[in-house]
């Protein structure tokens, strides 16, 4: 298969085959991170810029480690150190970056669509590392990778996604991705956290956590996006936790081999109990590990690599 996309802006634009191809590629990169010398020369001479307009620890470091393990040169720019504070527009900042001839720009932005704008301006590849409430494609890819790793195939899986769906780019990207496979996706939250018409994306909606987790292969918990107004959709975090915090009693209703996922950062005691987060069903740290392999695959394919 030939990879034809210059950019990775969202999952919605990918086909099922492309997603599987990407996951297979990631699989071939996973071993590199488990060696004593965690570096291959694949992207030597390539320049990768992480361009983060919004705070991030996990995603930025994951991308940076992925790039470095492929021998790319990496540069990190964050909003506080960038020229945006001096009043430069995104377009001008982007053009200035382009003039220094980077190969890949990885962007996180609080506003939906910002990476689309960047990709229209630039010849470099653009990777969306999360744009507002829109998409976070590499998160969905690493989530699918983790599901596939545990369940062998994605088809036939029953998945619950629980939490602040309306503000969640992780939920959107996962819904777009999972619905390209023969899966059953149930979204669960109070009505105020469910965007109107969500069913049109091919998912079921329930407001009961007990119902949502019943007979599921995968339970994905999301945090409340306070920075996007998530807290104003509920009376209090305390009340939310009393109805929507995943604890061990919920897991008994799920399938025996259920896995519990969370994109992080977790709010323990709010959407997930300590016992579940640290318990035997949790694959949360596997997700983080797999994130590096998936991002290596994305960087590799966008840079024109062939497996």
């Amino acid at each position: 298969m030939n990879w034809t996309h210059k950019d990775l802006l969202g999952i919605r634009e990918l086909s099922r085959e492309e997603i599987l191809y990407l996951l297979d590629t990631a699989d071939s990169f996973r071993d590199i991170s488990r060696r004593a010398i965690k570096k291959v020369p694949t992207l030597r001479g390539k320049t990768v810029v992480t361009f983060f307009y919004e705070p991030s620890t996990r995603t930025r470091i994951s991308f940076e480690i992925a790039a470095k393990r492929l021998s790319a040169d990496t540069i990190n720019i964050s909003a506080s150190s960038s020229s945006t504070v001096k009043g430069e527009t995104l377009k001008d900042t982007a053009r200035n970056l382009e003039a220094m001839r980077p190969d890949v720009i990885i962007m996180r932005h609080s506003m939906p669509g910002a990476p689309f704008m960047l990709s229209r301006i630039l010849d470099s590849s653009v990777i969306n590392a999360g744009d507002g409430s829109h998409e976070h494609p590499t998160q969905a890819l690493l989530d699918l990778f983790t599901m596939k790793e545990r369940k062998e195939t994605l088809d036939g899986l029953r998945i619950a996604i629980v939490g602040d769906i309306v503000h969640s780019r992780v939920a959107r990207s996962n819904i777009f991705a999972l619905r390209k496979f023969d899966t059953e996706v149930t979204c669960c939250a109070p009505p105020t956290m469910i965007p109107p018409g969500l069913e049109a994306l091919g998912v079921k909606v329930t407001h009961s956590l007990e119902e949502a987790v019943a007979n599921k292969d995968v339970i994905m918990m999301l945090r409340i996006q306070k920075e996007r107004g998530g807290a104003s959709t509920i009376p209090s975090i305390r009340e939310y936790a009393s109805f929507y915090c995943l604890n061990e009693s919920h897991l008994r209703r799920a399938k025996r081999d259920v896995i519990v996922m969370h994109p992080g950062p977790m709010n323990r005691g709010v959407e997930i109990s300590d016992q579940v987060a640290d318990g035997p069903y949790s694959v949360i740290l596997n997700q983080v590990e797999n994130g590096v392999a998936v991002r290596m695959a994305v960087l590799y394919l966008l840079s024109g690599g062939e497996v």
Binding site: T89, K91, A114, M117, D131, G132, H134, R172, P195, A200
Partner: protein, 423 residues
């Protein structure tokens, strides 16, 4: 003297539709008749195969002057109007300073006289500074030339103040033009619907508009005052207005070409040229707007011409200014309604000439001897492609770039002068 020969004269106000010649003398129409000899005419326009109609009247334009001259000026905005077939435009008050007192109104009138190429009729602010707190001096603005008042860009949130404004505006026969938006519901940048579900952009539900449409009409009915709802964009608003018109005859409304041409799908690519307020709605809303136009619920087609400089649009969608530069595409986009069979030509022209003239009690918008010579000659079928780089407007912000349109204004005559003539 200008003689327009053999055009199909179509004038809704006088209910005329036949091939006739029009003789213009000075600033008014001297004669309309069959076979007027061209002996005295300085210029003869052969309108054979073309349509002669009253100049279009736009009840909702932003000319940006004073204060935002880099976006548009009275000169460039009226040049765009002339090209688009408009001989009269009503300019909204959200300039800097706001047009909320007679000195600003006088400034606009003076600029329009010296630099404008079509008639400019100012719309004053309802409240000082558009702040929704104190009434602006409507009487003095009216004496200076204002024909309407509006806090366009927002609703007058305080219902008591809005009631007072409606009652007071009646004293000076000023049309009250209402932008309907409940700001406590409208913190988004696109319509709330399937497209916003996909893009993750913050969304505005249709009810943000509909609640205020209902409120504004309720207050107007209580006051017994006329009220005009501008840029109607939702199926719900059309339904509310349709019902209210049965009970109360002093309600009028307009919509804009983008609301019957584009749906929120235009925002799927984060194209900031498709960012407009109220936002582009669903396909079902588009169909309801067309039905409202067809059955007469919607009286007027306005442009809401909102020119912006490139930088205001060349940013993240959330940060981009709202608005579409519409004067040069509005007529052709509206003619699509005729080609689609939603309206007949007379019905369309009624919504762009006679009805706006009635709303504002203007002597224009009719073709008859003695009337001001404001008229256009257009082709119903000529095809052309929108190219923003040829716009006379400074605002190149159009979501219609590259669109092939059918129907084109060819000649615009305002006050007996040819102010636009194009291929």
């Amino acid at each position: 003297m200008i003689l327009i020969k053999k055009g199909r004269l179509l004038d809704p106000m006088t209910d005329r539709d036949e091939v006739l010649d029009v003789l213009i003398s000075g600033d008014s129409i001297a004669k309309i008749d069959k076979n007027i000899p061209g002996t005295d005419a300085d210029q003869v326009i052969n309108a054979s195969g073309l349509i002669v109609a009253p100049g279009l009247i736009d009840v909702h334009t932003h000319l940006r002057e004073p204060g935002y001259e880099w976006k548009e000026t009275i000169k460039t905005g009226t040049m765009a109007a002339a090209r688009g077939g408009f001989t009269t435009v009503v300019c909204m008050a959200n300039t800097d300073p706001v047009n909320d007192n007679k000195s600003v109104t006088e400034y606009i009138m003076k600029k329009a006289r010296t630099e404008g190429v079509v008639r400019v009729l100012p719309c004053g602010a309802i409240t000082k500074g558009l702040k929704g707190e104190d009434l602006s001096e409507m009487g003095e603005m009216q004496q200076a030339g204002a024909v309407a008042v509006s806090d366009d860009g927002r609703s007058v949130r305080n219902s008591r103040l809005f009631l007072t404004a409606l009652e007071y505006a009646r004293l000076f026969r000023l049309a009250v033009i209402c932008h309907c938006e409940d700001e406590t519901l409208s913190g988004g940048v696109v319509h709330e619907g399937f497209a916003s579900l996909l893009t993750g952009l913050d969304a505005v539900p249709s009810i943000a508009e509909e609640i205020m449409v209902q409120r504004d009409i309720a207050i107007a009915r209580y006051a017994g005052s006329p009220v005009h709802i501008t840029h109607v964009s939702t199926a719900g608003s059309v339904e509310i207005i349709r019902g209210e018109k049965e009970r109360y005859t002093k309600v009028t409304c307009d919509t804009c070409p983008h609301y019957f041409t584009l749906s929120d799908e235009a925002t799927l690519t984060y194209d900031t040229n498709a960012k407009v307020n109220p936002p582009l709605r669903s396909r079902a809303d588009v169909a309801a707007i067309k039905e409202g136009l067809r059955d007469g619920t919607i009286d007027i087609i306005a442009t809401d011409h909102a020119p912006h400089d490139a930088v205001s649009k060349d940013v993240e969608f959330d940060l981009a200014s709202s608005g579409i530069s519409g004067l040069e595409t509005a007529f052709a986009l509206s003619l699509a309604l005729v080609h689609e069979g939603v309206l007949d030509l007379k019905g369309l022209l009624t919504k762009m000439t006679a009805n706006p003239a009635r709303l504002l009690s203007l002597p224009h918008g009719a073709l008859a001897a003695g009337k001001p010579a404001d008229l256009i000659v257009f082709s119903e079928d000529a095809e052309w492609t929108v190219d923003k780089n040829t716009f006379y407007s400074k605002g190149r912000n159009t979501p219609f770039q590259g669109l092939k349109l059918r129907g084109k204004n060819l000649v615009t005559i305002m006050g007996g002068k040819i102010v636009y003539s194009g291929p």
